[in-house]
Amino acid sequence: MKAIADLFTIVAVVAGAFFFIAGTVGLLRFPDTFTRLHALTKADNLGLGLVVVGLLPQMDGVLAGLKLILVWLMVLLASATVSQLIARAVRRGGPKP
């Protein structure tokens, strides 16, 4: 049982790390501000979600796991709000993105 949980953790955390690389590469390589914002806010939140899901079997109790999920939901809410705010600020800044 422990081995299965550990394997699940490894697979999910590696997948999460892949999405973090994707977000960073997108931030560095994409041509304009909106595409960079897109890469950042989506890929990174998915990466964090996969890391959280991967860490769930390693937690001691149900409460610790729920707290991890709470962190992820908090980040999702904050990131969705902030990405909309930044995109709106950029659009109001003028035609040049």
Partner: protein, 95 residues
């Protein structure tokens, strides 16, 4: 398992470090702010991995604080930017 989690934490921190190049490079303040957002999200992931690796439950609280602070920083940035923009618009109107 501890070694794997520590390695994953270090790896995520490495992607943050690479993303911080964007702060130097720009080209705009918005892009620098996005790099800070990346630092927030990936820093939380690195903290959670570290906490699970060393078995310190309190690290989750740190991650929660970092989530709130990153959101506040971005909102303050947007508010400051739009405030200055509207002030300069008013200045242009008066001129």
């Amino acid at each position: 398992m501890t070694e794997f989690l520590l390695g994953a934490s270090a790896f995520v921190l490495l992607t943050v470090a690479v993303g911080l190049v964007c702060i130097l490079r720009g080209p705009d303040d918005v892009d620098r702010m996005m790099s800070v957002q990346l630092f927030g999200t990936a820093g939380i992931a690195a903290l959670l991995l570290l906490g699970a690796a060393i078995g310190a439950a309190a690290v989750v609280d740190l991650a929660l604080i970092l989530a709130v602070l990153a959101a506040f920083a971005a909102i303050a940035f947007v508010k400051a930017g739009t405030h200055m923009a509207s002030e300069s618009d008013e200045a242009e109107d008066r001129a």
